[in-house]
Amino acid sequence: MSRERILKGIAVSQGIAQGKVFIYETKQVEVFQIPILPVYLKDEIGRFDRAIKKTEHELRNIQKRLNYELGENFAQFLDAQVMMLSDKAIIQKVKQRIAEEKLNAEYVYHDVIREYAEKLGASKDTYLKERVADIWDVGSRVLRNLLGLTHSSVVEIPTGSIIVAHDISPSEAALINPKSVLGIATEAGGRTSHTAITARALEIPAVLGIKGLIGKIENGEKVILDGDRGIMIKNPSAGKIHFYEIAKKKVLELAKALSPFSELPAKTQDGRRIDISANIEFFSEYTHAKKYGAEGIGLFRTEFLYLTRRGSPTEEEQYRVYDALAKRMKPCPVIIRTYDLGGDKIFSDYREANPFLGWRAIRVCLDELDFFKMQLRAILRASVNKNVKIMFPMISNHEEVKRIHLVFEKVKKELRAKKIDFDEEIQFGIMIETPSAALLSPHLAHQVDFFSIGSNDLTQYTLAVDRGNEKISQLFEHFHPAVLQLIKQIIDAGHQTHIWVGLCGELAADPLAIPLLIGMGIDELSMNPGSIPRAKMVVQAITIPECEEIAKGALNFRTPLEVKRYLRRNIHRKFPGIDKVIK
């Protein structure tokens, strides 16, 4: 029996999978030159026409599925692929050369495509250079159809498989069938790659970015994929298998026990309503939010709009996604957060040493006003649905909020002048996720309609800890007394000015934290959709006065460990029902 081995990667989609490895490789297509007898030339051209038609049909099907998952009109990049495919100049050239040179269609087509790819590859423009991949994506699809090769397609993967690949192209990722694929592991990719987005949408566990994965694993091998911890276990020991079987069973049982709560309102024993909403990353996740009983979208991250493509999406493209989401969620509120990435994602020549302390989020927006205004217009236009709120990330001072207001008012004025409708009462909120904003919250509260505490970033910036760094990640602690004190200050500051205060971040979903946060007075908790039933169950088990008592005592400790021990003890004493959902 070989030894157990743990392969580490990036956890991008939760869950545990046990299954057989299916190594998925996209092989280069080999093309040979074959002379064609003149009498067969007509057939050869007909064969070429059919391959083009078949490929177009395939691309259209992929597009349909992508549009369904990522939102109407999102798969426009495939339009460009279809146009490349049916480009008359190319088709004519191929046909002409088949007839003149009396050679087979594969060879001629490959040659013509290569010519274009080389021209593009020589371009100085990085965007155009990357289109070479598109050309070959289309080109090899046609070649495979010409050669009658079955696509080594994810569609044909046997049931019970864990896909292992170097990378999965967006068009292939869209075809993954959740009924047969149990998990995904790749060498390339990260949290925001297409594969990650697809895996989360389909609720399939996935671990990406595992270095040297393919060399370490064999087809058909039995492995365990742990999408919570970001690992793949090769040759799992009997003990590990047992451990994961129990873990999986527990998760299933708990999900079953909690599922009735998704339909109930989040109301405490003594009748206080707490808004439980969902954090979602892309459009189609609204179905998960609804399924798990979210009472709104507390955080719509707009980053995927920027990450699944090069450059900025147009106003129209953004508007369609925001509008569709608002319509599907009606009458529940949808909070749209503006651009929250580093400048490097849009302005590709930009690099910096310290991105998390650098030119990102609102700082980029306030410098690049045309870019910012485009997103503001798109959000405002979607606000005619009357359930849209806007939220700005990464605020660290008073001037930023003032400047956002100026830009926002200007955009509104321009829309009014053009007679474009929007919600004049749209709520304007900011994220409090830097210590400076937290400490200034009594002042900031006068300028906004709501606060949303971004507890992950607030923890990172308060403790000066990058949780991605393994050497220090143990220092990253949501229950750090310093973090909790800031959270308390923010909530108090908001309430003194009569604005509501929410929290979106992992803390919002933690059963140990929920009674504490509610005791501190939080109005809304926003979390990943899957955690909602559990949070609702916790809310229904508690009463406000007892939570307030817990909150009062919780701020007197020196270490995260002391805080957690205190919370466990008190929750156990006051609300024994919650115990079973606390880790």
């Binding site: 146009m83 008359k88 100049a89 190319i90 274009y116 593009l120 155009l128 289109r131 900025s312």
Partner: protein, 85 residues
């Protein structure tokens, strides 16, 4: 024949999406459409051709439309190049 030099003002240059819009629109007209940049001429109805021209924002191209509906074609296509569409 309508033939004029134009500056590409479209935000991202004439990249895949604007280029595909351009081709779709060009195909609606009877006129032949060509784009010329730095002495290289391609059909305005071929997306691959247009892409290989690498038309960045700020670069100059010569747009030519020739045929029965050349005026309308030129007017409409110019808008895409100049980013008004």
């Amino acid at each position: 024949m309508v033939k004029k030099p134009l500056k590409i003002l479209n935000e991202n240059g004439l990249h895949a999406l604007p280029a595909s819009r351009f081709v779709k629109l060009a195909e609606k007209f009877n006129s032949t459409v060509t784009i010329e940049k730095e002495g290289v001429e391609v059909s305005g109805k071929s997306i691959m051709g247009i892409l290989t021209l690498a038309c960045e924002k700020g670069s100059t191209v010569i747009l030519t439309c020739e045929g029965m509906d050349e005026k309308e074609a030129f007017k409409a296509l110019r808008k895409i190049l100049e980013g008004q569409n």
